[in-house]
Structures are given as C-alpha cells and as structure tokens.
C-alpha cells in the first residue's frame, strides 16, 4: 500500500477514535463528530433558529477550520479562490443540510453511527451510495459548476477563518451582549446541545482532525465516488478507518449497541434515512466534496466551499424554523415508545424537493 493510502487510513482511524473519546468526555452518543449536527448547533448558538435543545458553539467545527487553515498556510496550499457558481453552491449547501437533518447526521456521523451498532445508519449508507452514484451519472454527462478563479487578493480566503476566530473568542470569553435575553451566543440547557466535552478538548480534537483531513483530503462522498468512477479506493480507506477506529473503542468502552430501535439521536423510518443521505450524497458529489471536505476547503481559501458552509448553517436554521428536521425515536421511562421520530410532512416535502432540485442542477449545468 502506498504512502497516500496509509495517510488516509490513519486519518480515518484517528478520527474514529477521537470521535468516541469525545463521546466519552461528554458529546452526545454516536456524535463525537458530526459536521451537519454541529453546524446546526452553531446556527442555534447564533440564535438563527429557536430549537433550544440544539444550541452550542461547537469547538470541533472551529478547530477543523482553523486546523485546515494553519496546515495549509504551513504547506503553502492556502490560496484564495472562488467564483464557481457561488450562489448555486450556497443553495446546494442549504439542501445538503436539509438532507442531513432528515437522516440525522452527515456522512461522517453515518459511519460513526454504524460503528455504534445503529442499523438505521446502514440504510442511510445505501441511500448515500445511491446519491453519490447519481452524482457520478451527472459528472459523466459533463456536469460542471464552472471554473474557480484565483483571487488577486488573499483577503477573501480569510473571511471564514476570521468569522470562526471571532466565534471562538466569544465562546472563550463567555461574552454577553444582552444580559436579559442572552446572546450573542445561546447555549442549550437540555438535549444534545447541552452535551459536550470540555471546550479545549473539543477544540484540540477539531484542530487535530482538521490537520489530518487537510493533509489526507479525507472525503466521504469522494471515497465512494472514486471507487465508482475510477476504481480508486484511496479515499474509501478513510471511510473504513473511521469505522474501524470508532468500532474498536465503542466495543472497549461499552458504547456498542446493535439494533434499529432507540439508537441515540436516530429514527427508524427507513425511507427517510435512505432519502436524507441520498440527498447529501448527490449534493456532495456535485459540489465536489462532503460536508467535512467543504469545511476543510473553507479553511484553506476556497470561498466557494465557504459559501457551502454558510449555506449549511442557513439550511440548519431553515430546517428547525420550518420544522423540516427529523426528530429522534424516544421512549418513556417505562420503556413504552413515546415517538417513532422521523421527519414531518414538511421535512419529507423539502427532502424530495431537494432531490428534484439537484437533478435539475445536474442537468442544467452540463457543459457538453
């Protein structure tokens, strides 16, 4: 196995293990890392939505961007570029988040959920693979969002890292602008948003994975895409690494619990687990990278990826304000089912609409 493959595999293994350590240290179960969930928590922390159980300025996300920034500055890969159908990418980011919140996780969390024994995530994986395959279909037909241009000024590439740094300062200093209503940052008192590892641990984990992901180009849609497109398994090793690393620690720490019902922050509606990640798969493939990859790129000067990240945060706000996000399957103390969870009618409509819109974009942006 060549050096590249080892780097991707080791990145995956470390990412999977770090994720379980974060759960042990306080993060929600099977959610050591989740790009979509954490960007959603950030949308909540900024008061962009009012779901008070999912509000926290997740240091993992801040660390991922800053880790990619620092690494790319050292390796001289940082380069401000943009202008490849930026607004379209923003909208695609919105829908990528809607899909992720119908499933309840990004592709990274899908792997972590599988490594925790959540069979619903396997259904999601099938949807994700189908979505990526659909994206590859359009790519083969000549799909292209257009060329990005290098900018004459490096300033644009620092916008996302600067925003992230500002959020980190607010978080560290516990800044309060409004003593009566709270803010600028809001924090959940109950629910997943209230569950988190210590700030410095989360930030350190983000920086480490940000460094590794920048070097290895870890990408979940890319892993499946390259296998379908050119029979190249390099990026897929990252996928396998995350699964193996998280599985080993989940078993060792007693977090592994196999089954469909009552998995942590998950629902059992197979069609929506499938279609939610289908939407993420096709969108990620058309964008050139999964939510994690977009975040890493946004840290190394890619303004188009930055637009996707902002789109995802806005998409999270829409998802909760418009009741598009799924709810989890829950039970009462007696063990009786209190809710089967899954998306409501509007979430179902938004998910299907998102898929239709990706097909339209896929057809309309053919070059040849």
């Amino acid at each position: 196995m060549d050096r590249n493959k080892w780097i991707v595999l080791v990145t995956g293994l470390i990412t999977g293990m770090v994720a379980v350590v974060l759960v042990k240290m306080g993060n929600p179960q099977n959610m050591g890392f989740c790009i979509a969930c954490f960007e959603r928590d950030i949308a909540g922390a900024l008061g962009l939505h009012r779901a008070d159980v999912v509000q926290y300025m997740r240091p993992e996300i801040l660390g991922l961007v800053l880790g990619a920034l620092i690494t790319s500055l050292f390796t001289r890969e940082f380069k401000t570029r943009g202008g490849s159908a930026t607004l379209v990418r923003f909208i695609m980011g919105v829908f990528m988040m809607i899909g992720a919140l119908v499933f309840l996780g990004c592709p990274l969390r899908d792997v972590l959920r599988m490594a925790g024994g959540d069979y619903n995530a396997v259904v999601g994986l099938f949807g994700f693979i189908a979505g990526v395959a659909s994206g590859v279909f359009f790519l083969k037909k000549g799909f292209n969002l257009g060329r990005a241009q290098a900018s004459h000024s490096q300033v644009g590439g620092f916008v996302i890292p600067a925003l992230i740094t500002f959020f980190l300062v607010l978080l560290v200093l516990k800044t309060v602008f409004n003593p009566t209503a709270g803010g600028p940052l809001f924090f959940s008192k109950t629910g997943p948003g209230s569950m988190h590892a210590a700030l410095w641990l989360s930030l350190g984990a983000g920086l480490l994975v940000g460094f590794l992901a920048q070097r290895s180009r870890l990408c979940f849609s890319g892993g499946i895409r390259d296998l379908i497109l050119v029979k190249d398994s390099t990026l897929l090793l990252g996928f396998i690494g995350v699964f193996a690393g998280a599985l080993v620690l989940n078993l060792a720490l007693g977090f592994f619990k196999a089954g469909f019902a009552f998995q942590p922050i998950a629902h059992t509606q197979h069609i929506w687990n499938f279609l939610g990640l289908y939407l993420v798969g096709i969108t990620g493939t058309l964008l050139g990278g999964c939510p994690l990859r977009q975040l890493i790129l946004s840290g190394q000067g890619d303004m188009d990826a930055g637009a996707v990240v902002v789109g995802m945060i806005v998409g999270a706000a829409f998802s909760h304000n418009f009741v598009l996000a799924s709810s989890a399957m829950t039970k009462a103390a007696s063990g009786a089912i209190t809710s089967y969870g899954g998306p409501g009618l509007y979430g179902q409509i938004a998910c299907v609409a998102g898929i239709v819109i990706m097909f339209v974009i896929g057809f309309m942006f053919r070059e040849e």
């Binding site: 590249n4 390796t75 001289r76 890969e77 380069k79 570029r81 490849s84 790519l139 083969k140 292209n144 969002l145 060329r147 990005a148 241009q149 290098a150 180009r217 990408c219 890319g222 895409r225 390259d226 497109l229 050119v230 029979k231 190249d232 390099t234 964008l287 050139g288 990278g289 188009d304």
Partner: protein, 69 residues
C-alpha cells in the same frame, strides 16, 4: 499531443477529463492544473492506467504534467 487545462475545476472533474482522453486512446497528454489534490488525483489515474509521468512544472498551485504511454 493533447493539451488539457483543468485549472479551477472542482474535484473530480480533472480526473474525469483526463480519463476521457485516456479512454479515447490518447497516448500523449499535457495536463495543466492549479491545485494539489487535482495533481495527486490525476497522477494516480495516470499511474494506474500505465502512463509514464513527467512534470514540466511542479508547484503546489501551478503544475504541468506530461503523461505518455
């Protein structure tokens, strides 16, 4: 020699464009790019397709790769 400009194209379009030329039977291709991942991906494809590689320019954000069979 075929010339292929993949500058500014999102992943994996540089690979798709290169593969298309390879599948058409081109034996000599000059590929010009401006991102490190594109360089790595195109190199991997050329190698696995049995092409010999020679970099004319080899910088992170500016590279020219000649592949021959």
């Amino acid at each position: 020699m075929e010339k292929l400009d993949v500058r500014g194209l999102s992943c994996p379009i540089p690979v798709i464009r290169t593969k298309k030329l390879i599948d058409q039977g081109c034996t000599e291709i000059l590929i010009i790019g401006d991102s490190a991942p594109a360089k790595e991906n195109v190199s991997r494809l050329a190698k696995s397709s049995g092409y010999q590689m020679q970099f004319i320019t080899d910088e992170k954000d500016n590279w020219e790769l000649e592949i021959k069979k």
